[in-house]
């Protein structure tokens, strides 16, 4: 008997592989009860599958695992190297951060050791400090000297729950500050606030604006760790663009294999 239902026929493999919804399964079974052509095809599917599954796998080259371990240890050296580059590059920023960090903790310690102070007033003081940092940041970010702007960014980093004005300033800085160091510091500051989706999106959008390979690489790394998929089109552009720095291209390619 010639089969009169090609749509059902097309489901036979899925039926055999147990991939049909219950309802579809019932329809197929009903059809099989009176279609000898489909019944025959189902038998063929079964027999061929048995044959497929009995085909042995091809052995990979013997030394595969050894090669892998070798490559991993090479990679360790590479990551160490690039780490040093980053450190050399931003030592000044790190020094500045340390100074500010100490300044922050000293203030905190003073507050805490003062046992008579009520916790409410501690909170008040902390808010005040936070406001002070915001003011300092606003004042410093417009300065001509990069080290002043660097300080401004690091003040922003210290603010616990930054207002949208603070994060906007950071994004603005990241997008348009002429100094690479300042932009790099802005990336680091923003990373802390990246629990907010709009900040992650802004960072992804900013990648397009960046021309410095270091910033590009740092941004890509961060965005991949955050699994920020909106960065994919930019990465694809980087990959296709002849002008992109080779290292950035590599970073983009690898990021794409993970994100896509």
């Amino acid at each position: 008997m010639k089969c009169n239902n090609p749509d059902i026929k097309n489901l036979l493999t899925a039926y055999f592989e147990n991939e049909l919804a219950e309802k579809e399964e019932r329809v197929v079974e009903e059809h099989l009860s009176h279609c000898s052509e489909c019944l025959r095809e189902l038998e063929e599917i079964k027999a061929f599958d048995k044959m497929l599954l009995s085909t042995p796998e091809i052995d990979p080259p013997q030394n595969s695992e050894l090669n892998f371990k070798e490559k991993i240890s090479q990679n360790k050296d590479i990551s160490k190297r690039s780490m040093t580059i980053t450190l050399n590059f931003s030592w000044r920023e790190i020094a500045a951060a340390i100074v500010i960090f100490f300044a922050g903790t000293t203030a905190g310690l003073l507050l805490r050791t003062n046992s008579v102070t009520e916790s409410a007033s501690i909170a008040n003081l902390e808010t005040e400090i936070s406001q002070m940092r915001q003011m300092l940041m606003a004042a410093l970010i417009t300065k001509e000297s990069p080290s002043d702007r660097l300080k401004a960014v690091q003040y922003a980093e210290q603010i616990n729950q930054p207002s949208s004005q603070v994060t906007e300033t950071l994004i603005e800085t990241l997008n348009s500050d002429p100094s690479v160091n300042v932009r790099l510091a802005a990336v680091n500051a923003l990373q802390q606030f990246a629990v907010h989706q709009d900040i992650r999106s802004a960072m992804a959008a900013s990648l397009k604006e960046q021309s410095d390979p270091l910033i590009q690489i740092v941004l890509i790394k961060m965005l991949v760790q955050m699994h920020e998929k909106s960065v994919v089109p930019t990465l694809q552009e980087f990959e296709a663009d002849q002008q992109t720095h080779e290292m950035v291209k590599q970073e983009a390619q690898e990021a794409l294999t993970v994100l896509l």
Binding site: K9, N10, L11, L12, T13, A14, E17, E19, L20, E44, I45, F48, D49, M51, L52, L53, S54, T55, P56, E57, I58, D59, P60, P61, S64, E65, N67, F68, K69, K71, I72, N75, V224, Q225, H227, Q253, E254, L256, T257, V258, L260
Partner: protein, 179 residues
């Protein structure tokens, strides 16, 4: 370690025990290698791809999401690697068996019979499009459910049902045509 699931080991890797990745490598390298071969990658290139996949898993271990099926992630990375490579080379992939399998005449021994079966399969795979080979490999040889394949390839489960049927039918016909 062998009693742990892929996901448990991967979580350990993510938490800093990177050397545990070699367990996952040992567990999956052969299947992954065969996946690359089955979709039409050359023998040594396949080995290289296997290493690149695990290399990326190591590098991006922090982006592994707890609870996500490890093999799904692994095959997603694998397939993207091939796709990028393919776009770079801009030429149609053809199935390429290792020299040993192509030149040696089959004999009556067990090994000869094995090789013969592999050759027949690969000869039939040659006649399929890369995307169909991929579906067949993931489903029949890697044992992935349609739901997982859908997530890896971006093809809807409904479409996979029909495409899988057509692809396997084509493979079956070519297989017996050659035999």
């Amino acid at each position: 370690m062998n009693s742990l699931t892929d996901e448990e080991i991967m979580l350990d890797v993510k938490n800093g025990n990177t050397e545990l990745l070699s367990f996952l490598y040992r567990r999956h390298q052969k299947h992954l290698f065969n996946f690359f071969m089955q979709i039409g990658t050359e023998y040594h290139q396949s080995e290289d791809f296997v290493q690149q996949v695990f290399f990326r898993i190591l590098r991006y271990r922090n982006s592994y999401k707890e609870g996500a099926m490890f093999r799904k992630w692994m095959f997603t990375i694998a397939r993207n690697l091939v796709k990028r490579d393919y776009e770079k080379q801009k030429h149609q992939k053809s199935i390429q068996l290792p020299q040993r399998l192509i030149t040696e005449a089959p004999d009556d021994t067990d090994a000869g019979e094995k090789e013969e079966k592999i050759k027949e399969l690969y000869k039939a795979l040659e006649s399929l499009q890369a995307s169909d080979r991929e579906l067949i490999s993931l489903s029949r040889f890697q044992g992935m459910k349609y739901e997982a394949i859908s997530e890896i390839t971006g093809i809807s489960v409904g479409a996979i049902k029909v495409r899988m049927h057509r692809a396997l039918k084509k493979l079956r016909e070519h297989y017996f045509e050659n035999a």
